[in-house]
Amino acid sequence: MSSWVKSLITAVVLIAVLYVVNAMMSTGGFFGTGIDDYQARLLVFIAINIILATSLNLINGFTGQFSIGHAGFMAVGAYSSAYFTVTYGKAIEASLGSLGDTVASSIVLLIAIAIGAVVAAVMGLIVGIPSLRLKGDYLAIVTLGFAEIIRIVILNIDAVGGATGLQVPGYANFLWIGIFAIITVVVIHNIVKSDTGRALISIREDELAAEAMGVNTTKYKVTSFVIGSSFAGIAGVLFAHYNKFLSTNDFQFIKSFEIIIMIVIGGMGSMTGAILGAIIVTLLPELLRQLPDIQVGAATFKFADLRLVIFALILIVTMIVRPQGILGTREFGLSWLKRPMRTPEGTEPTGSDEGTPIAQQAEARRLESEEDKDQ
């Protein structure tokens, strides 16, 4: 089967799954099975966080440029698109009325996403060109500064609600958010596997060496920053049109840190790691909410309030024990299941390798030796 047929089938299956899940979220349910609002919201936020984490991973994990201002670009995407839908959404929907409500609102959403992505990308370019001359912690602090300036500027624009917040029409549903999460993962995966991706990784590994080998480091750093920002913008658009309300408080640096935590826990430079991190960071606080309160004297301590304390502890302990995150730069996939069982140190594998392709044997050995190095 040629590869594009395979991709097509995968896409159709994934969209069908998303469609079913989306139908289950609606009030009627899907053939009697439903997902309640709370769970639906969690699924949506997992998908949005996957977009944020994988896009930041392109900048931080694969290019090695430490940006901690991702929430700023999310805010740019959210507010620019929300301004569009609030102002023109109704009119466009009315003029497309003959196509039916679903199609019309989807078209408005797609235009909004395009606007959010482009505006966030332009903002990424404006911020990236000067900032990316800096390295390491200076770059980090400048991106933080830019994100905060973006937030304060938005706070002062009355056209988007300023400090009171902005009501946004709810065009986005799980189907669209899921589709865009998948698109993000696929696009970034393909970028990483392309020539561009190799250039980005070479910058991460050693910028001077990359430059010496003829990689235009500035161009590639800015490219990765712009693409990452653009996807953050898309996440912002989807968040705005799902949440139906925007406030600049949603984009404070704690949000940027949260995205950092996702990729750090999952493993910087691993696609599946970023996805895993996004899922953990979204679900963990909800699981903590289930824990009972403790009564000490007159004071009640709520475990739910410990959410960020536990995050912080996980972050610090991860850094001390396993600074490369859960997956490091490796990927989790079906190939893991095919890996030969680990044998105790010093003993040769008893089973023969006969029949296993040589490439697979070599890969298994490489993985094992890499793990030894990690320890």
């Binding site: 900032s131 800096l134 959410r307 912080a312 850094m319």
Partner: protein, 305 residues
């Protein structure tokens, strides 16, 4: 003119606070090349430590100079110990890893302190007791200066002189300068670098705690997240002055404080509303890093290949 003098006095008051905190950032960066994100939270810890001491020892009910000094020194000591503990348990284990790892650890530490305090003291602000009688003194015209502002100036100048003495006239100060010059050579010369680093953290944390108690005398509202913005601005001050440079941190702090209040006071005339107050420091930071990354008093060091 009166308002200008008034704005300047207020700006320099906040600036002195920024300067005290910036000193800790700059010393730690000078030695470890680490942006200690948790430093702003130490300032908050200092304010809370002072609050607890003042309430527990009964200084809150009757203002006295003795009570103030005990609270200040006590808060500085507590924060110093906490600073050393943070270094020992969070930063030392990751010191050998990459810069990114240490920076993320610092971010984690900052979140940990903030939300532990939110958990135990709740996010609602508390009112710090007035430890010394506060009066407004009218200068020429209508400009006034309060005794708490004078207190901030006097105490911060004393602490800065003390710091200068420690760094340049004592043995441990010499060791600190040696470690910041080259940590490996210092180690080879028999300096106990771990101790010097711990001492630096204690010193920086104590200064931040002093800033916390002093701020609380000027503006009595304390809350667990008060260190985020102030800490970031103090960091900007350290970068503006030239990170790793002690006089630079003081200069940077005063400049940021003055710039901030002047924007609030006069920004309206040039189209910058006062709500942009918090953006000023970041704008200055970005400009400094892009135009003169070494800061005002720092020297450019060429990166070796």
């Amino acid at each position: 003119m009166d308002t200008f003098v008034q704005q300047l006095i207020n700006g320099l008051t906040i600036g002195s606070i920024y300067a005290l905190i910036a000193l800790g950032y700059t010393m730690v960066y000078g030695i470890l090349r680490l942006i200690n994100f948790a430093h702003g939270d130490i300032y908050m810890v200092g304010a809370y430590a002072g609050f607890m001491l003042a309430v527990a020892l009964g200084f809150a009910s009757e203002p006295s100079a003795f009570g103030f000094v005990v609270t200040l020194v006590g808060a500085m000591a507590i924060a110093g110990v906490i600073g050393m503990a943070i270094e020992r348990f969070a930063y030392r284990p990751v010191r050998k890893y990459s810069k990114m790892t240490t920076l993320i650890t610092a971010i984690g530490m900052s979140l940990l302190i903030e939300y532990l305090f939110v958990f135990f003291f709740s996010g609602t602000p508390r009112s710090f007791p007035q430890l010394l009688p506060n009066e407004n003194i009218t200068l020429f015209g209508n400009a006034t200066i309060s005794t708490s502002q004078i207190l901030i100036f006097v105490v911060s100048i004393l602490l800065m002189v003390l710091l200068q003495y420690i760094i340049f006239k004592t043995k441990i100060g010499k060791a600190m300068r040696a470690v910041s010059f080259n940590i490996n050579s210092a180690k080879l010369m028999g300096i106990n670098t771990d101790f010097v680093i711990a001492f630096t953290f204690a010193l920086g944390s104590a200064l931040a705690a002093a800033a916390g108690v002093l701020t609380a005398q000027y503006n009595p509202k304390i809350e667990p997240l008060m260190g985020i913005m102030t800490g970031l601005k103090a960091f900007v001050a350290a970068v503006l002055g030239g990170i790793g440079n002690v006089p630079g941190a003081v200069l940077g702090g005063l400049l940021i404080g003055a710039a901030e209040t002047l924007v609030v006071g006069y920004g309206g005339y040039i189209g910058i509303p006062s709500t942009y107050r918090d953006a000023v420091a970041f704008a200055i930071l970005i400009l400094v890093l892009l135009i003169r990354p070494a800061g005002l008093l720092g020297s450019n060091v060429q990166e070796k290949v």
